[in-house]
């Protein structure tokens, strides 16, 4: 344990750094460039775990643990909750809407990186006293001693901050129910009054491959009716359109028939995946 | 210390303005009477000042001085010399007439537009302007002067933009758009001038270390304060620019016709007869005394500009189709005369210029207010809409003619005295300029008589056939002005006696002496 905190870095640590560092960077990049929020969240979690390891490697045992427990445990979970709430597969297209935004951003990023690296490079960081003496009687004890003496005031304030944040979150997300919940009867009467959807909403369409609650039922003229799909799916843009499916299958069938009859192969049918079709 | 008379002259209208504004909306008439009483009270105070002022006495009299912003040596310093006294008296004199003439200008419009016209506001703003103008005439502290010189713009802006003629040939909409254009133009022009002046004021502080006019003049006189030539010239230009905008000097004049054309006649009088005078007055008091050498240096250019203003303004007045714009351009021409007189650097020129400010105030007031009455009757500002008024409303026509004759400075009426003094004063030093300026006499006759002929003479037009003659209130406004015009034309001595010593002082401050006549020079 203690030699990990020694002030010369062992080759082991070097090896660990190069490997995990690469992982961390890749994770970060994926966080940025993954199209689906879920994937970003997972990559981020990975990066954080790597960082936790680095903390440990740097003799910040407490922080390392906290990093894993609080960040990767609590905060990332929170993120995932929200992602679920907002829509797992709601993948926003990476197409830029603001003109020049992306290039400006990249330019700034690269420039900033260069600056930082240069700054660090020509900063005089020669004196290197290891953490060993500070951790002499336990890292946690050391931290505690500092927190409850020198930084006690800041500690209290952060406590207050946390409380406030919790209350704030509740206030923001909690919506007050002012009026009594309306009974079935009232709702029905309401519908009659508005004169829409007297019957319950139409059922979704049926598609023989799997549970097809996300497939719009077809209207008599063959166009899909959005009403048949639940609102959440609609908002997530996860309504699947299968109007093309039948043709695709037909083509595939013909092709197979022709292959069997050794006819000259017509151009292979491009049966597109339903997801693309939805897009 | 004694009773602060000068502060009182400014404070009374200021308080009156607040009081008038505070009158509840329902009691419209009460507000009018209050405003009238306040303005009359101010007139009385001004009369007291006039009496207490001793022409033979000190340079600045009735002075008051209190520390104001100690950090920058800004003091609340008031004091009047003969020139200031004359102009304060003029202001206090004209405001009651303006209030009386504008008695109905701010009443709610009956039909047509639904715009509510805050009567109280109208009169309160007039009083506010009066207070500010009076302070800027009395201030002997450059910074104090600057503050009020600028603050004046705000109430004027609202007066121009908020209250226009009732009727307009292009309907209420066009009227309001043009009005706001005029108001904004007025504000922007004067603000630009003011900001440049502010720079100069700060520069002056940097150079001189304080803002007190008297101290700086003292210091410059006895050599303790030395200004580099270039510095002095730049500061001079900064000040002069602001004043040239305010007293519209060609080519900075274009805001005046818009403002005077769109504003109601009383407000137009307020602009040209009272507010603009601050500009010419300030040239005389600040430009010349603070920067005598720079003034001398700039004189040729300024004289040329003044001459251009005289001829150009008169020519454009001839070309106008709108009565009020015509008067505006005529005023531009007259301001040319005033500036000419100031920078001719002769005692005749400067006394004449001061006298000119007073007389032009009165004569323009007479002409413009009568024109306002005329316009309010017919509901149009276009000259072409009138004709034969003389037969229908002889008194109106007569007073209009007298106002016009005063504008063309007919001998026997007040403006002649001042105009001739300016001409002589200019001629003695710059004969050519004097001759060119005399052209203004002919042109003035041209535009005045053309205006009178087109509106008053000829066969009676059906639209004006039912026009009533001047009412009692209107006669009460015009008659005193006419009497004053004649009196000051026949016996201007009282005014000249007050003004001359101050001018003598200014001349000595600027190290100027009148040129000697040839014969005596020969002797």
């Amino acid at each position: 344990m203690s030699q990990l905190a020694a002030y010369t870095t062992s080759t082991g640590e070097a090896f660990q750094f190069w490997v995990l560092g690469t992982v961390a960077v890749i994770g970060a990049l994926c966080t940025v460039f993954m199209r689906k929020a879920v994937h970003s969240a997972l990559c981020l979690a990975g990066t954080m775990i790597v960082l936790a390891v680095f903390y440990l490697a740097n003799g910040a045992y407490f922080l390392g643990i906290v990093q894993i427990v609080v960040y990767t445990g609590a905060i990332m979970m929170l993120f995932l909750f929200v992602v679920m709430l907002v829509g797992v597969t709601a993948a926003d297209s990476l197409k830029e809407t603001i003109r020049g935004q992306r290039w400006l951003a990249l330019l700034c990023g690269v420039g900033f990186a260069v600056l930082l690296l240069a700054g660090i490079a020509n900063a005089s960081l020669k004196d290197f006293t290891g953490i060993g003496r500070a951790n002499a009687n336990g890292n946690v004890q050391g931290l505690a001693a500092l927190i409850f003496t020198r930084y006690v005031f800041a500690f209290e304030i952060t406590g207050a901050l946390l409380i406030t944040a919790a209350v704030g979150a509740m206030v923001l997300t909690h919506r007050e129910r002012t009026e009594r919940a309306r009974t079935q009867r009232e709702l029905a009467e309401q519908r009659v009054r508005d004169g829409k959807h007297l019957p319950p909403l139409p059922a979704p369409g049926v598609y023989a491959r799997h549970n097809a609650v996300d497939i719009a039922g077809l209207l008599p003229d063959g166009t899909p009716s959005e009403l048949t799909v639940s609102r959440t799916l609609r908002e997530r843009g996860q309504v699947r359109d299968v109007s093309a499916e039948a043709l695709g299958d037909l083509k595939a069938l013909e092709q197979r028939a022709e292959e069997r009859l050794e006819r000259t192969a017509v151009e292979p049918a491009t049966s597109q995946r339903p997801e693309e079709a939805a897009k | 210390m004694s009773f602060p008379l000068l502060t009182a002259t400014a404070a009374l209208p200021a308080v009156g303005a607040v009081a008038t504004a505070a009158v509840p909306a329902a009691r419209r008439t009460a507000a009018k009477w209050l405003a009238l009483l306040v303005s009359l009270g101010t007139l009385a105070l001004a009369a007291v000042v006039l009496v207490r002022f001793d022409p033979g006495g000190a340079r600045y009299q009735l002075t008051e001085s209190h520390a104001w912003i100690a950090a920058f040596g800004v003091r609340y310093e008031l004091g009047v010399d003969g020139i200031a006294v004359a102009l304060v008296a003029l202001t206090a004199l004209l405001i009651p007439f303006i209030v009386l003439a504008g008695w109905h200008d701010a009443d709610p419009l009956e039909t047509g537009s639904r715009r509510w016209r805050p009567t109280q506001g109208f009169f309160a703003l007039i009083l506010a302007v009066e207070a500010m103008v009076i302070v800027s005439f009395e201030a002997t502290d450059v910074f104090l002067f600057y503050i009020f010189f600028e603050a004046m713009l705000i109430p004027m802006y609202f007066l121009i933009g908020g209250f226009g003629d009732r009727a307009h040939e292009h309907g209420e909409e066009a009227a309001s758009t043009q009005r706001s254009y005029a108001a904004v133009k007025f504000l922007l022009y004067n603000l630009v001038g003011g900001l440049i002046m502010l720079a100069a004021v700060i520069g002056l502080y940097v150079v001189a270390g304080n803002f007190s006019l008297t101290e700086i003049v003292q210091a410059r006189a006895n050599g303790t304060l030395h200004m580099a030539t270039s510095t002095e010239r730049w500061l001079f230009l900064g000040f002069f620019f602001a004043f040239a905008v305010k007293a519209p000097l060609w080519p900075l004049h274009t805001w005046l016709p818009n403002a005077m054309g769109e504003a109601t006649a009383p407000v137009a009088v307020l602009i040209t007869a009272v507010v603009d005078k601050v500009g010419t007055f300030a040239m005389l008091r600040f430009c010349l005394q603070l920067f005598p050498d720079a003034s001398k240096w700039a004189t040729p250019v300024i004289l040329v500009l003044a001459l251009i203003s005289i001829v150009y303004g008169a020519l454009l007045a001839v070309g106008q189709r709108d009565i009020k714009r015509l008067v505006a351009y005529a005023s531009i021409s007259h301001f040319g005369f005033i500036v000419l007189g100031i920078f001719a650097m002769t005692s005749q020129g400067q006394s004449g210029a001061t006298l000119y400010m007073v007389n032009h105030g009165i004569s323009t007031a007479a002409l413009m207010l009568v024109a306002g009455f005329l316009i309010s009757r017919r509901g149009s500002r276009l000259i072409a809409d009138y004709g034969g008024v003389q037969k229908v409303a002889p008194v109106l026509a007569g007073t209009f003619l007298i106002g016009g004759l005063a504008t063309l400075s007919l001998p026997g009426l007040a403006p002649f005295v001042s105009e001739f003094l300016v001409l002589v004063g200019t001629f003695t030093r710059y004969p050519a300029a004097g001759v060119v300026a005399t052209l203004g006499i002919v042109l003035a006759a041209l535009y005045t008589l053309v205006l009178y002929q087109r509106t008053m003479t000829g066969p009676v037009r059906p639209e004006v056939s039912a026009m009533p003659d001047l009412r009692a209130r209107e006669l009460l406004v015009v008659a005193p002005l006419v009497v004053l015009l004649i009196f000051l034309g026949v016996y201007p001595k009282p005014v000249t006696d007050i003004v001359n010593p101050a001018v003598r002082q200014t001349m000595s401050d600027t190290h100027q002496t009148d040129p000697k006549p040839e014969v005596e020079a020969a002797k």
Partner: protein, 99 residues
């Protein structure tokens, strides 16, 4: 190996996070990127504390984590209510700052 490399890494991560904030439109992802930046800072602090041989850096990192937690809580709450009101988690939809 020189521990300064940790700092380089931190800088890199920070920059990546910042760029992400600028590029992504999904509010949640933006948030994640912010977290990434915070973590980069933390790493730097930890490394500094190791360099100087005292624990203050770690303390600051600790506080950062606390603050980050609070911030995430509030921020996510905001995102949720935003999504409720306008059924979208895109940052660009909240472009009413322009008159």
């Amino acid at each position: 190996m020189n521990p300064v490399n940790y700092l380089y890494l931190a800088a890199l991560l920070f920059t990546i996070g910042a760029t992400g904030v600028l590029i992504r439109r999904n509010a949640i992802v933006v948030f994640m990127c912010i977290e990434l930046m915070l973590n980069a800072c933390n790493l730097a602090f930890v490394v500094f504390s190791r360099m100087h041989g005292n624990l203050d850096g770690q303390i600051i990192a600790f506080f950062t984590m606390v603050v980050a937690a609070a911030e995430v809580v509030v921020g996510l709450a905001i995102i949720v209510s935003l999504f409720r009101s306008r059924h979208s988690a895109s940052v660009d939809d909240a472009s009413l700052m322009k008159l």
